[in-house]
Assembly symmetry: C2
Homo-oligomer: 318 residues x 2
């Protein structure tokens, strides 16, 4: 018997609470479902979205997930979308359209079942792909997925949990095989677009071959370092006060901060004023106000202005 | 004429000061040498180390660098090592032995010429390789090379400058070709070991092909983000006081810190006590003292102990 998998989260989380769990029928999410079942979770809502990409096989995936979940005594939420049609309508890539469809599906399930907790089956190999992909497209730092995070999905703030994030896909497969649990090959919540597939099947194996070591744990570690840095930013911003008694940004204080903290302070300020359409580029323009030789105001989306005067920066409504 | 390269550093640095510059004779370092010459630097010491790896060609590289530098009116420092022999003696890899040999060579030049400023010709393509290599071997975060850094080389604290770090190799080549400046193909300060070559010739092109974009600038950006985070750690540690009036670490204060800052505070404490052989693993063991259910002391290299008592952590000599 393949040994039990070590998942500290499983024993620390409340098995009596209600949880949504995303289940495609593939190895990863079926392993998650069996692990939750074995750990005594009784109040799961098994959510399956049929992306409509693989015809009859997609329908069989849906049936397989429904049967398994119902035998375990869980509720099932399922829906079907026509992803190709959605792509045509929105002009989005397969990956983007698929993510949006899943987010809306989870948001619907969240409202119906009054539950904002969502469990997903991402593992360490997914994490390595994500890190490399984020790095390749110029996302900041070594960003990956978090074990626990808050994500906006279709207008709902969901708490997303990924209990399998430190496990390898091979570990999950061995665990499932020994227990003779079934899964659907090729079923995947994640739309396996060309880029993802090539990162998985070409890039990661090449990097492992070049360095003569398994690179997946290395990438996972880089994410941990990135998260630790994020933790420091959260802590640092909680330790400082950049507002004057009138609630305006104090330029002298802001200037004394390192760049990361300036950016965060300005971002928090814009958010606290409900400025719409905040982007990294907008924050960059606003930070330009620190230079007193620059124009003294920046136009904001929504019509207001951010104005610099007498060593302070504040919002000026129209 | 290929346009002038934009190198803000060149116009901001003092051309009258003395600078060591590492020149292999390859494209990158020859471009750096010509750029410095053109920018009016007159007090250069051109440092060339012959790694003894390519027989007569290595000797020709050395002669080429010497002739060019002397025509420009610069001093030349050169030396020859037998890298294969050094590897055999130390059991180090080609990369490690090469780096150590160069560091000792630069340290010697630094002492002889009483100059701790060293210019190197690394460019953006080198940077991308370095980031990927660091990521693959599990170095923390997205570490790369810095435009300005302090490095210990053979016992000397050198200030290392890399003015070309944001330029592409192709830009340097075009600039050199238009001006008909010569360089030695295959000459390189950096020992081109198998791993580096495969990252350059296989991994980076594959990642560019998969993402259908030039990935080099993306990797360079990740380094900037990492550096900005480092700046925050430096700032944060300067804002806090974790020592009690007796100079002992205050456990309660240390516990209130995020992990990155705890690690840094403990590292600074060990360094201030001149503890030898400080490693990430040692710092990790010392941080175990924060858990009051753990043993109350940690043995340090050199014979002293780090002890926890009454909410404080301090060094106990033997």
């Amino acid at each position: 018997m393949s040994p039990e998998l070590e998942i500290p989260w499983l024993s620390s989380a409340s098995a009596r609470k209600k949880w949504l769990v995303g289940v495609s029928g593939g190895l990863d999410s079926m392993a998650l479902l069996h692990l939750l079942d074995g750990a005594g979770f009784r109040n799961l809502v098994v959510c399956h979205l049929d992306h409509g990409l693989r015809g009859r096989e997609s329908a069989e995936d849906a049936g397989f997930v429904k049967n398994t979940a119902e035998k375990m005594g869980f509720e099932v939420e399922s829906a079907k979308v026509d992803l190709k049609r959605l792509m045509g309508e929105s002009g989005e890539s397969l990956e983007t359209a698929g993510r949006r469809a899943r987010h809306e599906f989870f948001a619907d399930g969240s409202k119906k079942h009054r539950c904002k907790r969502l469990l997903l089956g991402h593992h360490a190999d997914d994490q390595a792909e994500t890190v490399l992909w984020n790095l390749m497209r110029g996302s900041h730092g070594c960003r990956g997925m978090s074990e626990v995070s808050v994500m906006e999905m279709g207008g709902v703030e969901m708490e997303v949990f990924r209990p399998l994030l430190s496990l390898r896909k091979d570990e999950l497969r061995a665990w499932m095989e020994v227990r003779k649990f079934k899964w659907r090959e090729d079923a995947s919540n994640r739309v396996n677009d060309v880029v993802r597939n090539r990162i998985r099947n070409e890039a990661l194996p090449l990097l492992a071959d070049i360095s003569m070591r398994d690179v997946v744990p290395m990438f996972a570690r880089a994410v941990k370092d990135d998260e630790a840095q994020e933790e420091l930013v959260d802590w640092a911003i909680s330790q400082v006060n950049v507002l004057d008694p009138q609630g305006r940004l104090h330029l002298g204080v802001l200037r004394s901060f390192p760049e990361v903290l300036r950016t965060r302070a300005l971002l928090d300020f814009l958010r606290s004023k409900d400025v719409p359409g905040i982007s990294a580029a907008l924050v960059g323009r606003c930070l330009g106000l620190l230079d007193t030789s620059s124009p003294a105001s920046v136009n904001l989306p929504g019509g207001a202005r951010l104005r610099r005067r007498a060593g302070r920066v504040f919002l000026e409504e129209n």
